[in-house]
């Protein structure tokens, strides 16, 4: 698609659980700087794919390359260290920690001070902590959740939890951001806000892979769309092309006389 190497390249990825083939030879690229979407009906294997990409599942075969590195089989914390950050479909926030602490935890890798220095509150650590607190405050402002900073994240309504989770992911300054159904269970207004925030991240140079089962959400915003159905990649391309693809229409609406989805 472009001359630059893709931010993410998935090649022939296969994954099965006790004989159930969850992913079958899935291959696709996410171009650097793009907002790509991975869609598919429930049970298509979307989250399994994300779990492979982030090291929670080990694929049976195939290869995952991101940001010029081979990620296949790396541990989750190493994947994070490589600059690949994810959010969770069913919210992976630290429910007992305040919103600000959740974001600050996202700064873990960006903080330098070691165990001992940090434990002794040496002057340069205090300075670092102040700088980190400022980063967190900026993010709170960006996400319009500044007034919630001291609230335990677990007490927030679902839509706001999703937003905090996006904030925590952004706090890590990822190069590649994997968002697993960030808009599931949201009302229309919340979805619009979320789309705006995700586009904002892309515009600041983060490559985004958005996982979603609702096609209408992604068609307007994505640069490129990949469609997964029963573990197979059935379509890949610009949104216009994908939404008219007969295989995609069939997967979403059944086979007979389907209108193209918009």
């Amino acid at each position: 698609m472009s001359e630059v190497a893709p931010a993410l390249r998935v090649q022939d990825l296969c994954l099965s659980f006790a004989g159930v083939k969850t992913l079958q030879s899935v291959s696709f690229d996410v171009p650097t700087g793009a907002l790509a979407s991975l869609i598919g009906p429930n049970g298509a294997g979307k989250t399994s794919l994300v779990n492979c990409l982030t090291g929670y599942y080990r694929p049976d075969s195939g290869r995952i390359e991101a940001l010029g590195r081979n990620l296949t089989g790396l541990r989750p914390d190493r994947v994070a260290r490589a600059g690949i950050v994810r959010t969770y479909q069913n919210v992976g926030l630290f429910g007992g920690l305040s919103v600000a602490d959740n974001l600050l935890a996202g700064r873990h890798l960006r903080m330098r001070s070691g165990l001992l220095a940090g434990g002794l509150s040496l002057p340069w650590c205090t300075r670092e902590e102040l700088a980190e607190r400022e980063v967190v405050e900026d993010l709170l402002a960006l996400l319009e959740i500044g007034h919630l900073r001291t609230v335990p994240a677990g007490r927030l309504p679902y839509g706001l939890q999703k937003r905090v989770e996006l904030g925590r992911a952004l706090a890590m300054e990822p190069a590649l951001l994997l968002l697993d159904e960030p808009m599931a269970g949201m009302n229309l207004g919340e979805k619009r806000d979320m789309v705006r925030l995700i586009r904002g991240a892309r515009d600041r140079g983060v490559t985004v892979l958005l996982i979603e089962h609702d096609m209408s959400v992604v068609m307007g915003v994505s640069d490129v769309v990949a469609v997964l159905d029963f573990g197979h990649l059935i379509a890949y391309g610009p949104p216009d092309q994908v939404s008219h693809d007969p295989a995609v229409v069939a997967a979403y609406l059944g086979v007979d006389d389907a209108e193209p989805v918009r």
């Binding site: 929670y56 602490d101 509150s121 902590e129």
Partner: protein, 294 residues
């Protein structure tokens, strides 16, 4: 003479020491999510190590006690590496049983290494008791209480303000998510066990000074449970309050009830308290009240 103030003061001192060994337990729960049934045995080992350094090697207390804490921190690291890490993704129950096995192994191992003779910890302090507001308290108890509370405060500050403290809180809250932030769960576990070991060493010193060091020292581990259940299993502030409540309950019950029942009720009272708390506030006084959502 009114005996109540003296009983309360004794209870507070006792409570601070209960809180100290419970801190190790709470840290392991917070940091690595493991219910450690061997905390009492770690205290036992810590007591023997301290008695050995102080008595046989004849080191001064300012060297021996920190050295014992370092050695026990290392022992904590070994436990994490040998017992906890191989069971990384196993069920809670498997880990629970593993710590129970560890407790049994330590009970057998300690007499093999140090012999079964009871030892005393030579007191580094002047034998003359301190006089606090007209009450007499052994000097070693006052110092132990002070150091115990300082240790707990230090741990609390570490948790609240440092990068690894935050990483530990995050890991205990949601392990998967913590990993995806690049937090190394293994390192977090190791830190928790090292601090638990150090706390056990100081607990062994403080309790050993009072009770003497023999196999019975491991029994103080039982009182970790009323303390942490009272205080909430993941709260450091709760540990202090839980410790004080248990200490005072034991002190009062020993004086007022023991003569009536012929002795031993002081040790039963905290456990009765434990049952009552479980019935009334199962998440403890300070523990997080889980909110259910439909």
């Amino acid at each position: 003479m009114n005996v109540l103030p003296q009983l309360l003061l004794n209870g507070v001192i006792l409570g601070a020491l209960y809180a100290l060994i419970s801190v190790g337990f709470v840290l392991v729960v917070k940091g690595s999510g493991v219910i450690n049934l061997a905390q009492g045995e770690l205290v036992l080992l810590g007591g023997y190590v301290t008695a050995w350094l102080l008595g046989e090697r004849g080191l001064p207390a300012v060297v021996a006690v920190p050295a014992a804490m370092l050695l026990m921190a290392a022992a904590g690291l070994v436990v994490e590496r040998v017992v906890v890490r191989p069971l990384e993704n196993q069920s809670m129950l498997a880990l629970l049983m593993a710590t129970l096995a560890l407790a049994t192994i330590l009970q057998g191992l300690v007499p093999i290494i140090f012999g079964s003779e009871p030892r005393s910890i030579p007191s580094p302090f002047n034998a003359a008791p301190v006089s606090v507001a007209g009450l007499q308290v052994p000097r070693v108890n006052v110092w132990s209480m002070g150091i115990a509370l300082a240790f707990i405060a230090l741990v609390a500050v570490f948790f609240a303000t440092t990068r690894y403290g935050l990483a530990m809180r995050a890991a205990s809250d949601h392990r998967l998510a913590a990993q995806s932030l690049g937090i190394r769960i293994r390192r977090v576990n190791a830190i928790a066990w090292a601090i638990a070991g150090a706390a056990a060493a100081f607990g062994g010193f403080a309790w050993g000074s009072v009770l003497g060091v023999d196999a019975g020292l491991a029994l103080v581990g039982i009182f970790v449970f009323p303390v942490v259940i009272l205080g909430g299993i993941d709260s450091l502030a709760g540990v202090v309050v839980g410790g004080l409540v248990v200490g005072i309950a034991e002190s009062l019950a020993t004086w007022y009830v023991d003569p009536l029942v012929g002795g031993g009720f002081g040790l039963v009272a905290p456990l009765l308290l434990l049952i009552v708390v479980l019935l009334v506030r199962p998440y403890g006084l300070f523990g997080r009240h889980e909110i259910g959502r439909v």
